[in-house]
């Protein structure tokens, strides 16, 4: 094969290039030719095709995502916002937290184990590249119907992939979601979140300043895995060809990633890193163009120096390879020996492959010939931007008009509760979460099934203050709500994650999001996307929590059938004294059970409508962000003042499920009466902005006073204790029976 050098490209202007096969449109290719003043070389085409793919360039979503910046609430906590590898927020006492959620949906369908594993690996490297020590992970997972055949292939593989990779990495898995819906059968969603900790004054950025500084590639060697993954897997739908695409999925090595974590932390401590970037989608192409574009503007790279696992790789393939566990750093020449010594200590291969320049050009050579000569910003930042057309889906108003009012309501509420509790979405997720290490590193204060995961901050970092603080994290999303109304659905996802953080006593601080949708080329899907982003940006503004980063996953569809629009929202909160955290559910006997918030007759998109009638129609529960904010204020203040003995948010399945889960948390029963006059509505409505708490009887007055101050409705329901959940005049169910029903569904299906 002859080498397609820059000189050859200039000499053969009419040679046809396979841009269409690489997912590039005609006009995009023409623009590359215009930028370069000639046709691109094969290597340049590799770079532009991956950097301008939907996955890397956000070309369809960019115009909408801008609202996260333009509508961002004023926040003193925001240290690094969108556009970097991950956002960073000030959590007090000189500490900062960085967190982000990212999708690995398509690879997880093709090869569930490796797809999910490398999803964890990728998000962890994003967090490392901010200068942080990763301290925990979470996973928001969505699968097809639990009893559908392909779910039995995908779910065990995904869980095993996360389990193997995350456990070997030594990061506690502290929460997340597992949701089943037939709409995800051909498009499972694997959204992985990582949170990291760093000193506020030690943030690292992806930048390559200073001509003469060295470019170091370190970590695993480069192989053929994931070649074309970014552009092929992220921008095309796959139906029957998934077998053929198997080689495009990356394969992970968690041991190397663990070494990389410890190695990076020592490099940061030794202060020998000027700029750093992880290698994820688009590998070397992405790292070099982004580092160069954000630095002094130029870089030279000798691709022959890239250490290879497969010596037959061509330069185009090296540029596109998505081999895992690799990082790129910019290091001053004086610091190179110290840098290499740290890498050697951790057995991490490291190689100088280039140098920073001020030429404004990214120049790469192979066998002494120039094969890439481009202005890096044109690949990294100046990708195409599309104003995709969008309109409300045909049938949307009919869907909204088909409300749950027409559904027959049950007489036997005991049977209804047990039926919901024993359904895959509301049943115990222990089959999944017991495969994750939630204890490693010894800082886990709360983990699943708690409302949010919580970690104390006791990392040992030179120069860092000791602190009593902790961070809490929750992710939530509800595709059915978003299908009925994407604007409200995105807001409800935020509201639930925000509430889940607040019920543990932490004050919500910042947001990350993973926006999972169908094809942006479908105007109806694009409408869902536009509405969801608008809703989320508006709600973040009202709740005062800025979006710090996230990820968009398009093309989650099979044929013309898209998944439900599924914005997944992660909220990070801070608790000033982690010892005041509130545990989940009923934690002792003899406590007053209190419901906070009002209940309306709201069943659109509810679990009851889904389980009992297979119905999806009407409108989701009403959003009241002011009520949400007031509720969170009550919860955070009450926790701080030591009023709460236990708490739990109300969401899917309403009060009935919240009461049940509160009983199951510590095996403590309760006797309650319902506040309204319709027991079915009281028990199963999914009205937002509600939480269940329990307090010592003598603390009830203080809680009621606090609720009065924030105008949060507050209803004493009864008392904890006994071995059953008794709802006066409705039913009494032994806790043991609840536990058995709750534990049954996943083991029955997955063994």
């Amino acid at each position: 094969m002859s080498l397609d050098s820059v000189k050859r490209a200039a000499d053969t202007p009419d040679e046809p290039m396979p841009y269409a096969e690489l997912g590039m449109k005609d006009d995009e290719y023409r623009r590359v030719c215009d930028i370069l003043g000639r046709r691109p070389t094969g290597s340049e085409l590799a770079i532009y095709s991956v950097m301008w793919s939907e996955h890397c360039s956000y070309k369809s979503s960019k115009v909408h995502l801008r609202q996260f910046a333009t509508k961002a609430p004023k926040s003193d906590a925001l240290l690094v916002g969108m556009g970097e590898n991950a956002g960073v927020v000030d959590i007090g006492d000189g500490w900062a937290a960085t967190f982000k959620i990212e999708s690995h949906n398509h690879p997880s369908y093709v090869e569930p184990h490796q797809g999910a594993a490398t999803g964890v690996g990728g998000i962890v490297r994003d967090i490392m590249s901010m200068g942080a020590r990763p301290i925990a992970v979470m996973d928001a997972l969505r699968f097809g119907g639990a009893d559908q055949q392909d779910t039995r292939r995908v779910l065990p593989g995904v869980v095993e992939g996360i389990s193997h990779y995350g456990n070997c990495l030594g990061l506690p898995n502290i929460g997340g979601e597992v949701v089943f819906d037939p709409c995800y059968i051909g498009n499972p969603l694997v959204n992985a979140l990582c949170v990291g900790l760093l000193r506020k004054d030690q943030i690292k950025l992806a930048t390559a300043p200073g001509p003469g500084n060295k470019v170091v590639l370190f970590g695993a060697r480069t192989g053929a895995d994931g070649i074309g993954g970014a552009s092929v897997l992220a921008s095309a739908t796959f139906e029957d060809e998934s077998q053929a695409k198997r080689p495009a999925v990356q394969v992970g090595d968690p041991f190397m990633e663990k070494l990389l974590i410890e190695c990076c932390l020592e490099l940061y401590q030794a202060d020998v890193v000027v700029g750093i970037q992880d290698l994820g989608a688009a590998g070397v192409s992405c790292a070099t163009t982004e580092l160069a574009a954000k630095g002094t503007g130029g870089m030279t790279v000798d691709l022959n120096l890239v250490p290879l696992r497969d010596p037959t790789l061509r330069p185009e393939e090296i540029l596109m390879s998505e081999s895992q566990e690799r990082m790129m750093a910019v290091v001053t020449p004086e610091d190179i020996p110290a840098f290499m010594a740290v890498c050697e200590k951790w057995d991490v291969p490291a190689t100088v492959i280039g140098e920073v320049t001020d030429t404004g050009r990214l120049v790469m050579t192979w066998d002494g010939e120039v094969i890439v000569d481009i202005p890096p910003g044109t690949a990294a930042d100046e990708g195409p931007v599309y104003e995709r057309p969008f309109h409300e889906p045909a049938g949307q108003s009919a869907l909204n008009a088909d409300g749950p009012e027409r559904l027959p309501r049950p007489e036997d509420l005991r049977e209804t509760l047990l039926r919901l509790l024993g359904s895959p979405n509301l049943g115990s997720k222990e089959w999944v979460t017991s495969q994750y290490d939630r204890y490693v590193r010894g800082n886990t204060v709360l983990a699943q099934p708690a409302d949010s995961g919580m970690l104390r901050i006791s990392e040992v970092m030179p120069g860092a203050e000791e602190t009593t603080r902790g961070v809490a994290l929750a992710t939530d999303g509800n595709g059915r709500y978003a299908r009925l109304d994407p604007y409200a659905g995105a807001q409800l996802a935020l509201a639930e994650a925000y509430r889940n953080v607040a019920v543990t006593g932490a004050a919500p601080l910042a947001v990350t999001n993973c926006l999972n949708f169908g094809s942006p080329e479908d105007p109806e899907v694009m409408w869902q996307f536009a509405e969801a982003v608008r809703g989320l940006a508006d709600a973040c503004k009202t709740l005062g929590v800025p979006v710090t980063g996230g990820n968009v996953s398009f093309y989650n569809q099979t044929g013309s059938t898209a998944i439900h629009p599924t914005p997944v929202v992660g909220v990070l909160g801070v608790i000033e004294d982690v010892a005041t955290r509130v545990r989940s559910g009923f934690t002792a006997e003899g406590l007053r059970v209190v419901l906070l918030g009002d209940t309306r007759d709201e069943f659109g998109g509810s679990e009851w409508a889904h389980v009992a009638h297979g119905h999806l129609g009407g409108l989701p529960p009403a959003v009241d962000l002011e009520a949400e904010r007031a509720l969170a204020s009550v919860l955070v203040e009450a926790a701080r003042d030591g009023l709460l003995e236990g708490s739990h948010d109300l969401s899917d399945g309403g009060l009935a499920i919240a009461l049940t889960e509160a009983c199951l948390a510590q095996g403590v029963g309760a006797t309650v009466s319902l506040p309204g006059d319709d027991a079915f509505v009281d028990l199963f409505s999914e009205s937002a902005s509600r939480a269940l708490v329990c307090v010592r009887p003598e603390a009830f007055e203080a809680l009621a006073e606090l609720c009065g101050r924030y105008e949060v409705p507050c209803y004493g329901l009864g008392t904890t204790g006994g071995a059953s959940l008794a709802v006066e005049g409705v039913f009494e169910i032994p806790v043991a029976e609840l536990r058995e029903t709750h534990a049954a569904p996943l083991p029955a299906i997955f063994g």
């Binding site: 041991f255 057995d347 204890y439 490693v440 104390r456």
Partner: protein, 227 residues
């Protein structure tokens, strides 16, 4: 009097070393970091081999670690009576190093399991269990994919006969271990290996809903102080 010094070993891929060091510190002893590549035990009074996936455990768990420079020092020292505790991967390494008999194989259910597990103390006379009472039931977290203890019939019989089964699972065997064995000791009682994680059960606020792990560290501390 100087505090007792307990070495905590870090191999590449060790994960629970921070937890182990914290547990040692909370009990009033000094944790001393030991590095796999050093031929140096730094004169410690006891050694803790924590859990993780040393060297990636791509072969058999612990199979590579036993050949590390540090183990060259540790193996003879343990045979000479140095107290050594191995949890999880540390237990696997002790078996691979033949400081303890038997082997740990893939869990019966083939899944990694993380849960709070009931355990009965069967032998409160070892260096690491003297603060327990024989027959005491405790709760410690387990988190492993390869914790199924196996040994030939003769070895098992000898372990049982000599009271060298130190811990047994109660309330359900999580991994198919023979005789419900969760942990064992050597003939001298100075080397103890177990799959559960005492270092994750030493504080009220974090880890497992128990502080039963503390007694491992108070046991060794008393022994070292009285030595």
């Amino acid at each position: 009097m100087n505090a007792a010094r307990v070495g905590v070993v870090t191999f590449p891929g060790t994960l629970d070393d921070q937890d182990a060091a914290r547990a040692v510190r909370l009990t009033g002893a000094d944790p001393v970091p030991l590095w796999h590549a050093d031929h140096d035990l730094k004169g410690v009074d006891a050694v803790f081999l924590p859990g993780g996936f040393s060297y990636g455990d791509y072969l058999r768990c612990g199979a590579i670690s036993r050949f590390s420079p540090l183990m060259d020092e540790l193996i003879p020292a343990a045979r000479a009576g140095l107290p050594v505790l191995g949890t999880c991967n540390g237990f696997q390494i002790l078996c691979e190093a033949h400081l303890l008999p038997g082997a740990l194989t893939r869990n019966e259910g083939l899944h990694y399991i993380c849960r709070d597990q009931g355990i009965r103390v069967e032998n409160a006379d070892t260096a690491w269990t003297s603060d327990f009472a024989t027959g005491q039931e405790i709760v410690l977290p387990i988190k492993h994919g390869e914790g199924r203890y196996v040994a030939d019939a003769e070895t098992l019989a000898a372990l049982e006969r000599d009271g060298r089964v130190v811990f047994r699972y109660v309330g359900g065997n999580p991994n198919g271990s023979l005789n419900d064995i969760a942990g064992i000791t050597n003939e001298a009682g100075n080397v103890v290996g177990l799959m559960p994680h005492p270092e994750h059960a030493v504080e009220e606020l974090t880890g497992a809903p128990s502080v039963d792990g503390r007694s491992f560290f108070t046991s060794i501390l008393k022994r070292l102080v009285n030595a």
